[in-house]
Point group: C2
Chain length 238, copies 2
Protein backbone atom coordinates (compact mmCIF):
# COMPACT_ATOMS: atom_id res chain seq x y z
CA UNK A 1 0.00 0.00 0.00
CA UNK A 2 1.19 3.48 -0.91
CA UNK A 3 0.11 6.46 1.20
CA UNK A 4 -0.34 9.98 -0.13
CA UNK A 5 -0.17 13.05 2.06
CA UNK A 6 -2.55 15.99 1.87
CA UNK A 7 -2.94 19.06 4.03
CA UNK A 8 -6.16 19.93 2.20
CA UNK A 9 -9.00 17.59 3.16
CA UNK A 10 -12.36 19.36 3.52
CA UNK A 11 -15.93 18.21 3.23
CA UNK A 12 -14.92 14.76 2.06
CA UNK A 13 -12.75 16.14 -0.77
CA UNK A 14 -9.00 15.55 -0.81
CA UNK A 15 -6.69 17.75 -2.88
CA UNK A 16 -3.11 16.62 -3.45
CA UNK A 17 -0.36 19.19 -3.90
CA UNK A 18 1.60 19.25 -7.19
CA UNK A 19 4.36 16.92 -5.89
CA UNK A 20 1.94 14.28 -4.58
CA UNK A 21 -0.28 14.71 -7.66
CA UNK A 22 2.64 14.05 -10.00
CA UNK A 23 3.66 11.01 -7.97
CA UNK A 24 0.07 9.71 -8.01
CA UNK A 25 -0.94 10.43 -11.60
CA UNK A 26 2.36 10.42 -13.49
CA UNK A 27 4.70 8.04 -11.62
CA UNK A 28 2.13 5.53 -10.35
CA UNK A 29 -0.25 6.22 -13.28
CA UNK A 30 -3.38 6.32 -11.15
CA UNK A 31 -6.50 7.29 -13.06
CA UNK A 32 -9.88 8.69 -12.01
CA UNK A 33 -11.84 5.89 -10.37
CA UNK A 34 -8.78 4.26 -8.75
CA UNK A 35 -8.69 3.74 -4.99
CA UNK A 36 -5.95 5.62 -3.10
CA UNK A 37 -5.07 6.00 0.58
CA UNK A 38 -4.33 9.42 2.01
CA UNK A 39 -3.12 10.72 5.38
CA UNK A 40 -3.23 14.27 6.71
CA UNK A 41 -0.65 13.56 9.41
CA UNK A 42 -3.02 13.87 12.36
CA UNK A 43 -3.91 10.19 12.76
CA UNK A 44 -6.59 8.89 10.39
CA UNK A 45 -6.20 7.08 7.10
CA UNK A 46 -8.62 8.17 4.39
CA UNK A 47 -9.59 5.54 1.85
CA UNK A 48 -10.47 7.55 -1.23
CA UNK A 49 -11.51 7.29 -4.86
CA UNK A 50 -9.61 9.46 -7.29
CA UNK A 51 -12.00 11.82 -9.11
CA UNK A 52 -9.46 14.00 -10.91
CA UNK A 53 -6.10 12.66 -12.15
CA UNK A 54 -4.44 15.93 -13.19
CA UNK A 55 -0.73 15.43 -12.39
CA UNK A 56 -0.55 19.07 -11.24
CA UNK A 57 -3.55 18.85 -8.92
CA UNK A 58 -5.20 15.50 -8.28
CA UNK A 59 -8.52 15.33 -6.43
CA UNK A 60 -10.18 12.43 -4.62
CA UNK A 61 -13.31 11.81 -2.59
CA UNK A 62 -13.20 10.19 0.84
CA UNK A 63 -14.98 6.83 0.96
CA UNK A 64 -13.96 5.68 4.45
CA UNK A 65 -12.02 7.06 7.42
CA UNK A 66 -9.90 4.70 9.56
CA UNK A 67 -9.03 6.52 12.80
CA UNK A 68 -5.67 6.22 14.59
CA UNK A 69 -4.14 4.35 11.67
CA UNK A 70 -0.86 2.64 12.63
CA UNK A 71 -1.02 4.24 16.09
CA UNK A 72 1.05 3.06 19.06
CA UNK A 73 -0.30 2.78 22.63
CA UNK A 74 1.94 5.40 24.25
CA UNK A 75 2.89 9.03 23.89
CA UNK A 76 6.64 9.61 23.54
CA UNK A 77 8.75 12.71 23.07
CA UNK A 78 12.40 12.02 22.26
CA UNK A 79 14.61 14.98 23.18
CA UNK A 80 17.92 14.15 21.56
CA UNK A 81 21.05 16.23 21.05
CA UNK A 82 22.04 16.33 17.36
CA UNK A 83 25.07 14.23 16.50
CA UNK A 84 28.18 15.73 14.90
CA UNK A 85 27.45 13.68 11.79
CA UNK A 86 23.92 14.74 10.90
CA UNK A 87 23.27 11.59 8.83
CA UNK A 88 23.29 9.64 12.07
CA UNK A 89 20.65 11.92 13.56
CA UNK A 90 18.49 11.66 10.48
CA UNK A 91 18.86 7.90 10.63
CA UNK A 92 17.55 7.98 14.19
CA UNK A 93 14.59 10.17 13.24
CA UNK A 94 13.66 7.83 10.40
CA UNK A 95 13.88 4.65 12.47
CA UNK A 96 12.12 6.22 15.47
CA UNK A 97 9.22 7.17 13.21
CA UNK A 98 9.08 3.65 11.82
CA UNK A 99 8.93 2.15 15.33
CA UNK A 100 6.71 4.81 16.87
CA UNK A 101 7.40 8.26 18.33
CA UNK A 102 5.17 11.34 18.74
CA UNK A 103 7.60 14.22 18.89
CA UNK A 104 11.27 14.77 18.12
CA UNK A 105 12.78 17.59 20.17
CA UNK A 106 16.29 18.47 19.02
CA UNK A 107 18.17 19.89 21.99
CA UNK A 108 21.64 21.34 22.31
CA UNK A 109 23.69 20.64 25.39
CA UNK A 110 26.67 22.35 26.99
CA UNK A 111 28.90 19.70 25.37
CA UNK A 112 27.16 19.66 21.97
CA UNK A 113 29.45 20.21 19.04
CA UNK A 114 26.53 20.78 16.70
CA UNK A 115 24.15 23.59 17.60
CA UNK A 116 22.19 24.02 14.37
CA UNK A 117 19.91 21.72 12.48
CA UNK A 118 17.80 22.04 9.34
CA UNK A 119 14.23 21.58 10.52
CA UNK A 120 12.89 21.38 6.95
CA UNK A 121 15.00 18.28 6.28
CA UNK A 122 13.73 16.60 9.44
CA UNK A 123 10.16 17.47 8.54
CA UNK A 124 10.51 15.92 5.10
CA UNK A 125 12.10 12.88 6.72
CA UNK A 126 9.32 12.24 9.25
CA UNK A 127 6.70 12.67 6.53
CA UNK A 128 8.38 10.19 4.23
CA UNK A 129 9.09 7.73 7.07
CA UNK A 130 5.47 7.93 8.29
CA UNK A 131 4.15 7.25 4.77
CA UNK A 132 6.64 4.40 4.28
CA UNK A 133 5.73 2.74 7.57
CA UNK A 134 1.97 3.30 7.10
CA UNK A 135 1.30 5.62 9.99
CA UNK A 136 -1.55 8.10 10.02
CA UNK A 137 0.16 10.41 12.47
CA UNK A 138 3.36 12.20 11.52
CA UNK A 139 5.68 12.90 14.47
CA UNK A 140 6.02 16.54 15.36
CA UNK A 141 9.46 18.13 14.93
CA UNK A 142 9.87 20.71 17.69
CA UNK A 143 12.10 23.79 17.43
CA UNK A 144 15.69 23.45 18.63
CA UNK A 145 16.03 24.36 22.31
CA UNK A 146 18.78 24.07 24.89
CA UNK A 147 18.84 21.11 27.26
CA UNK A 148 18.05 23.52 30.10
CA UNK A 149 15.01 24.90 28.25
CA UNK A 150 13.78 21.38 27.54
CA UNK A 151 14.15 20.44 31.20
CA UNK A 152 12.29 23.54 32.36
CA UNK A 153 9.52 23.07 29.81
CA UNK A 154 8.81 19.32 30.07
CA UNK A 155 5.42 18.75 31.74
CA UNK A 156 5.78 17.61 35.35
CA UNK A 157 2.91 15.17 34.77
CA UNK A 158 5.03 13.20 32.27
CA UNK A 159 7.44 10.38 33.10
CA UNK A 160 10.67 12.24 32.33
CA UNK A 161 13.85 10.21 31.91
CA UNK A 162 17.42 11.36 31.41
CA UNK A 163 19.92 8.81 30.07
CA UNK A 164 23.51 9.60 30.85
CA UNK A 165 26.77 7.74 30.76
CA UNK A 166 28.80 9.15 33.64
CA UNK A 167 28.88 6.42 36.26
CA UNK A 168 30.07 8.79 38.98
CA UNK A 169 26.74 10.63 38.89
CA UNK A 170 23.72 9.59 41.04
CA UNK A 171 22.61 6.01 40.75
CA UNK A 172 20.71 5.29 37.58
CA UNK A 173 17.87 2.82 37.02
CA UNK A 174 17.58 0.54 34.03
CA UNK A 175 15.27 2.24 31.51
CA UNK A 176 13.21 -0.96 31.45
CA UNK A 177 12.57 -0.66 35.19
CA UNK A 178 11.91 3.06 35.00
CA UNK A 179 9.29 2.60 32.26
CA UNK A 180 7.22 0.40 34.56
CA UNK A 181 6.24 3.64 36.30
CA UNK A 182 4.80 5.13 33.09
CA UNK A 183 1.25 3.84 33.70
CA UNK A 184 -0.17 5.58 30.65
CA UNK A 185 1.53 8.91 31.24
CA UNK A 186 3.30 10.81 28.49
CA UNK A 187 7.01 9.86 28.35
CA UNK A 188 9.87 12.27 27.68
CA UNK A 189 13.37 10.83 27.20
CA UNK A 190 16.40 13.12 27.14
CA UNK A 191 19.54 11.83 25.38
CA UNK A 192 22.80 13.80 25.49
CA UNK A 193 25.43 14.59 22.89
CA UNK A 194 28.62 12.62 22.17
CA UNK A 195 30.30 14.39 25.10
CA UNK A 196 27.42 13.52 27.49
CA UNK A 197 25.53 16.05 29.59
CA UNK A 198 27.36 18.59 31.73
CA UNK A 199 27.07 18.10 35.50
CA UNK A 200 24.96 21.29 35.59
CA UNK A 201 22.50 19.81 33.10
CA UNK A 202 22.23 16.56 35.06
CA UNK A 203 21.71 18.51 38.29
CA UNK A 204 18.97 20.63 36.70
CA UNK A 205 17.21 17.54 35.34
CA UNK A 206 17.29 15.72 38.68
CA UNK A 207 16.13 18.86 40.47
CA UNK A 208 13.19 19.10 38.05
CA UNK A 209 12.19 15.50 38.74
CA UNK A 210 13.75 13.65 35.80
CA UNK A 211 14.56 10.01 36.58
CA UNK A 212 18.17 9.06 35.80
CA UNK A 213 18.34 5.93 33.65
CA UNK A 214 20.93 3.76 31.96
CA UNK A 215 20.58 1.79 28.74
CA UNK A 216 22.47 -1.34 29.76
CA UNK A 217 26.11 -2.36 29.54
CA UNK A 218 26.81 -1.71 25.85
CA UNK A 219 28.61 1.44 24.85
CA UNK A 220 26.15 2.99 22.42
CA UNK A 221 26.56 5.91 20.07
CA UNK A 222 24.15 8.81 20.67
CA UNK A 223 21.80 7.79 17.87
CA UNK A 224 21.83 4.10 18.88
CA UNK A 225 21.15 5.07 22.49
CA UNK A 226 18.22 7.20 21.35
CA UNK A 227 16.81 4.38 19.24
CA UNK A 228 17.28 1.93 22.11
CA UNK A 229 15.15 4.20 24.30
CA UNK A 230 12.40 4.27 21.65
CA UNK A 231 12.57 0.47 21.42
CA UNK A 232 12.39 0.16 25.21
CA UNK A 233 9.16 2.19 25.23
CA UNK A 234 7.73 0.34 22.21
CA UNK A 235 8.63 -3.10 23.58
CA UNK A 236 7.22 -2.24 27.03
CA UNK A 237 3.77 -2.09 25.40
CA UNK A 238 3.73 -5.23 23.23
Amino acid sequence: MELFYSSDIQGGIVRLDPEESAHCARVLRHRAGDGISVIDGTGPLYRCRLTGDDPRGAVAEVMEVLPDFGAHPYRLTMAVCPTKNIDRYEWFVEKATEIGVDAIAPVTGDHSERKVLRADRLERLVLSAAKQSLKGRIPEVLPVRSVQELIAGAPASALRLIAYCDESLPERHSIVEALKEARGREIVVLIGPEGDFSPAEVAAALQAGFVPVHLGPSRLRTETAALTAVQAVYLSCI
Copy 2:
Protein backbone atom coordinates in the same frame (compact mmCIF):
# COMPACT_ATOMS: atom_id res chain seq x y z
CA MET B 1 39.85 4.37 23.77
CA GLU B 2 40.97 2.86 20.47
CA LEU B 3 41.08 -0.93 20.09
CA PHE B 4 43.49 -2.78 17.81
CA TYR B 5 42.85 -6.25 16.49
CA SER B 6 45.40 -9.04 16.35
CA SER B 7 45.09 -12.68 15.39
CA ASP B 8 48.66 -13.30 16.61
CA ILE B 9 48.91 -13.18 20.41
CA GLN B 10 51.28 -15.81 21.83
CA GLY B 11 53.28 -16.03 25.04
CA GLY B 12 52.33 -12.50 26.05
CA ILE B 13 53.52 -11.03 22.73
CA VAL B 14 51.08 -9.29 20.37
CA ARG B 15 51.93 -8.83 16.70
CA LEU B 16 49.80 -6.45 14.64
CA ASP B 17 49.30 -7.07 10.93
CA PRO B 18 50.50 -4.42 8.44
CA GLU B 19 47.13 -2.62 8.30
CA GLU B 20 46.76 -2.35 12.09
CA SER B 21 50.47 -1.53 12.44
CA ALA B 22 50.19 1.36 10.00
CA HIS B 23 47.11 2.64 11.81
CA CYS B 24 48.88 2.37 15.16
CA ALA B 25 52.32 3.72 14.30
CA ARG B 26 51.68 5.99 11.31
CA VAL B 27 48.12 7.35 11.70
CA LEU B 28 47.92 7.49 15.51
CA ARG B 29 51.72 7.99 15.87
CA HIS B 30 52.09 5.54 18.73
CA ARG B 31 55.71 4.97 19.78
CA ALA B 32 57.47 2.18 21.68
CA GLY B 33 56.53 2.50 25.35
CA ASP B 34 52.96 3.69 24.67
CA GLY B 35 50.02 1.79 26.13
CA ILE B 36 47.62 0.23 23.61
CA SER B 37 44.54 -1.99 23.91
CA VAL B 38 44.19 -5.05 21.73
CA ILE B 39 41.45 -7.62 21.12
CA ASP B 40 41.74 -11.00 19.43
CA GLY B 41 38.01 -11.28 18.86
CA THR B 42 37.42 -14.12 21.33
CA GLY B 43 36.45 -12.04 24.37
CA PRO B 44 39.36 -10.58 26.34
CA LEU B 45 40.86 -7.13 26.12
CA TYR B 46 44.67 -7.08 26.34
CA ARG B 47 46.21 -3.97 27.85
CA CYS B 48 49.65 -3.83 26.24
CA ARG B 49 52.81 -1.78 25.98
CA LEU B 50 54.13 -1.18 22.50
CA THR B 51 57.66 -2.54 22.21
CA GLY B 52 58.16 -2.14 18.44
CA ASP B 53 56.58 0.71 16.45
CA ASP B 54 57.40 -0.45 12.91
CA PRO B 55 54.41 0.68 10.80
CA ARG B 56 54.68 -2.57 8.80
CA GLY B 57 54.77 -4.84 11.85
CA ALA B 58 54.17 -3.38 15.30
CA VAL B 59 54.81 -5.52 18.39
CA ALA B 60 53.53 -5.13 21.94
CA GLU B 61 53.75 -7.00 25.21
CA VAL B 62 50.68 -7.91 27.25
CA MET B 63 50.55 -6.18 30.66
CA GLU B 64 47.03 -7.16 31.75
CA VAL B 65 44.18 -9.30 30.44
CA LEU B 66 40.57 -8.20 31.06
CA PRO B 67 38.30 -11.19 30.33
CA ASP B 68 34.86 -10.93 28.67
CA PHE B 69 35.41 -7.30 27.80
CA GLY B 70 32.15 -5.55 26.82
CA ALA B 71 30.30 -8.87 27.02
CA HIS B 72 26.52 -9.18 27.22
CA PRO B 73 24.67 -11.62 29.52
CA TYR B 74 23.02 -13.73 26.79
CA ARG B 75 23.92 -15.77 23.75
CA LEU B 76 22.09 -14.70 20.59
CA THR B 77 22.18 -15.90 17.00
CA MET B 78 20.31 -13.68 14.54
CA ALA B 79 19.30 -15.62 11.42
CA VAL B 80 18.17 -12.90 9.03
CA CYS B 81 17.35 -13.02 5.34
CA PRO B 82 19.42 -10.49 3.38
CA THR B 83 17.51 -7.43 2.21
CA LYS B 84 17.28 -6.46 -1.46
CA ASN B 85 19.27 -3.32 -0.67
CA ILE B 86 22.39 -4.74 0.95
CA ASP B 87 23.24 -1.44 2.71
CA ARG B 88 20.25 -2.03 4.94
CA TYR B 89 21.53 -5.46 5.89
CA GLU B 90 24.97 -4.10 6.63
CA TRP B 91 23.38 -1.39 8.75
CA PHE B 92 21.63 -4.09 10.76
CA VAL B 93 24.85 -6.07 11.23
CA GLU B 94 26.69 -2.96 12.45
CA LYS B 95 23.98 -1.90 14.90
CA ALA B 96 23.42 -5.46 16.16
CA THR B 97 27.14 -5.73 16.94
CA GLU B 98 27.03 -2.41 18.79
CA ILE B 99 24.11 -3.55 20.93
CA GLY B 100 25.24 -7.16 21.38
CA VAL B 101 24.93 -10.26 19.20
CA ASP B 102 27.00 -13.47 19.04
CA ALA B 103 26.39 -14.78 15.56
CA ILE B 104 24.90 -13.46 12.34
CA ALA B 105 23.46 -16.23 10.17
CA PRO B 106 22.45 -14.97 6.73
CA VAL B 107 19.64 -17.18 5.45
CA THR B 108 17.80 -17.24 2.16
CA GLY B 109 14.10 -17.95 2.10
CA ASP B 110 11.71 -19.14 -0.59
CA HIS B 111 10.63 -15.51 -1.07
CA SER B 112 14.12 -13.97 -0.89
CA GLU B 113 15.02 -11.78 -3.83
CA ARG B 114 18.67 -11.74 -2.80
CA LYS B 115 20.42 -15.10 -2.54
CA VAL B 116 24.07 -14.07 -2.42
CA LEU B 117 26.06 -12.04 0.04
CA ARG B 118 29.70 -11.06 0.33
CA ALA B 119 30.85 -12.66 3.58
CA ASP B 120 34.18 -10.76 3.51
CA ARG B 121 32.35 -7.42 3.69
CA LEU B 122 30.26 -8.60 6.66
CA GLU B 123 33.37 -9.88 8.41
CA ARG B 124 35.13 -6.54 8.01
CA LEU B 125 31.99 -4.83 9.25
CA VAL B 126 31.63 -6.86 12.47
CA LEU B 127 35.33 -6.39 13.22
CA SER B 128 35.14 -2.64 12.81
CA ALA B 129 31.84 -2.39 14.73
CA ALA B 130 33.22 -4.50 17.60
CA LYS B 131 36.33 -2.29 17.84
CA GLN B 132 34.22 0.87 17.65
CA SER B 133 31.84 -0.27 20.38
CA LEU B 134 34.63 -1.65 22.61
CA LYS B 135 33.75 -5.31 22.57
CA GLY B 136 36.29 -8.07 23.09
CA ARG B 137 34.27 -10.63 21.22
CA ILE B 138 33.60 -10.25 17.50
CA PRO B 139 30.30 -11.77 16.34
CA GLU B 140 30.67 -14.80 14.13
CA VAL B 141 29.42 -14.51 10.54
CA LEU B 142 28.03 -17.90 9.55
CA PRO B 143 27.92 -19.18 5.96
CA VAL B 144 24.77 -18.47 3.96
CA ARG B 145 22.21 -21.26 4.32
CA SER B 146 18.59 -21.73 3.36
CA VAL B 147 15.85 -21.06 5.91
CA GLN B 148 15.10 -24.80 5.88
CA GLU B 149 18.74 -25.66 6.63
CA LEU B 150 18.83 -23.14 9.47
CA ILE B 151 15.66 -24.58 10.95
CA ALA B 152 16.98 -28.13 10.74
CA GLY B 153 20.36 -27.16 12.21
CA ALA B 154 19.34 -24.90 15.11
CA PRO B 155 19.99 -26.67 18.43
CA ALA B 156 16.81 -27.96 20.04
CA SER B 157 18.15 -26.84 23.43
CA ALA B 158 17.99 -23.19 22.31
CA LEU B 159 14.99 -20.89 22.59
CA ARG B 160 14.19 -20.65 18.89
CA LEU B 161 11.88 -17.86 17.70
CA ILE B 162 10.46 -17.16 14.26
CA ALA B 163 9.05 -13.67 13.61
CA TYR B 164 6.57 -13.52 10.79
CA CYS B 165 4.02 -11.04 9.57
CA ASP B 166 1.21 -13.15 8.14
CA GLU B 167 -1.65 -12.81 10.62
CA SER B 168 -3.51 -15.78 9.16
CA LEU B 169 -0.79 -18.15 10.39
CA PRO B 170 -0.85 -19.74 13.89
CA GLU B 171 -1.18 -17.38 16.81
CA ARG B 172 2.00 -15.54 17.62
CA HIS B 173 3.29 -14.40 21.01
CA SER B 174 4.85 -11.03 21.67
CA ILE B 175 8.63 -11.46 21.47
CA VAL B 176 8.85 -9.85 24.91
CA GLU B 177 6.66 -12.58 26.39
CA ALA B 178 8.46 -15.34 24.49
CA LEU B 179 11.86 -14.20 25.79
CA LYS B 180 10.73 -14.75 29.38
CA GLU B 181 11.15 -18.46 28.62
CA ALA B 182 14.84 -18.04 27.72
CA ARG B 183 16.14 -18.68 31.25
CA GLY B 184 19.77 -18.53 30.25
CA ARG B 185 19.43 -20.67 27.15
CA GLU B 186 20.95 -19.74 23.81
CA ILE B 187 18.49 -17.73 21.71
CA VAL B 188 18.03 -18.05 17.95
CA VAL B 189 15.78 -15.56 16.16
CA LEU B 190 14.74 -16.14 12.55
CA ILE B 191 13.66 -13.08 10.52
CA GLY B 192 12.29 -13.45 6.99
CA PRO B 193 12.80 -11.52 3.78
CA GLU B 194 10.72 -8.60 2.46
CA GLY B 195 8.20 -11.10 1.09
CA ASP B 196 7.94 -12.91 4.48
CA PHE B 197 8.42 -16.66 4.94
CA SER B 198 6.62 -19.16 2.74
CA PRO B 199 3.92 -21.23 4.47
CA ALA B 200 6.21 -24.28 4.05
CA GLU B 201 9.00 -22.51 5.94
CA VAL B 202 6.66 -21.50 8.77
CA ALA B 203 5.32 -25.05 8.97
CA ALA B 204 8.83 -26.50 9.12
CA ALA B 205 9.84 -24.06 11.86
CA LEU B 206 6.78 -24.80 14.00
CA GLN B 207 7.25 -28.53 13.45
CA ALA B 208 10.85 -28.21 14.65
CA GLY B 209 9.77 -26.40 17.81
CA PHE B 210 10.30 -22.74 16.89
CA VAL B 211 8.02 -20.37 18.81
CA PRO B 212 6.07 -17.98 16.55
CA VAL B 213 6.46 -14.36 17.66
CA HIS B 214 5.38 -10.90 16.59
CA LEU B 215 7.24 -7.65 17.06
CA GLY B 216 4.32 -5.42 17.95
CA PRO B 217 1.91 -3.34 15.90
CA SER B 218 4.35 -1.28 13.81
CA ARG B 219 5.06 -2.30 10.25
CA LEU B 220 8.82 -2.72 10.29
CA ARG B 221 11.25 -3.20 7.44
CA THR B 222 13.25 -6.45 7.56
CA GLU B 223 16.34 -4.80 9.02
CA THR B 224 14.36 -2.78 11.58
CA ALA B 225 12.50 -5.92 12.61
CA ALA B 226 15.82 -7.73 13.05
CA LEU B 227 17.25 -4.90 15.14
CA THR B 228 14.07 -4.76 17.22
CA ALA B 229 14.55 -8.45 18.05
CA VAL B 230 18.16 -7.78 19.13
CA GLN B 231 16.94 -4.89 21.29
CA ALA B 232 14.22 -7.06 22.83
CA VAL B 233 16.86 -9.61 23.90
CA TYR B 234 19.26 -6.90 25.10
CA LEU B 235 16.58 -5.01 27.03
CA SER B 236 15.25 -8.21 28.61
CA CYS B 237 18.57 -8.47 30.47
CA ILE B 238 19.07 -4.92 31.74
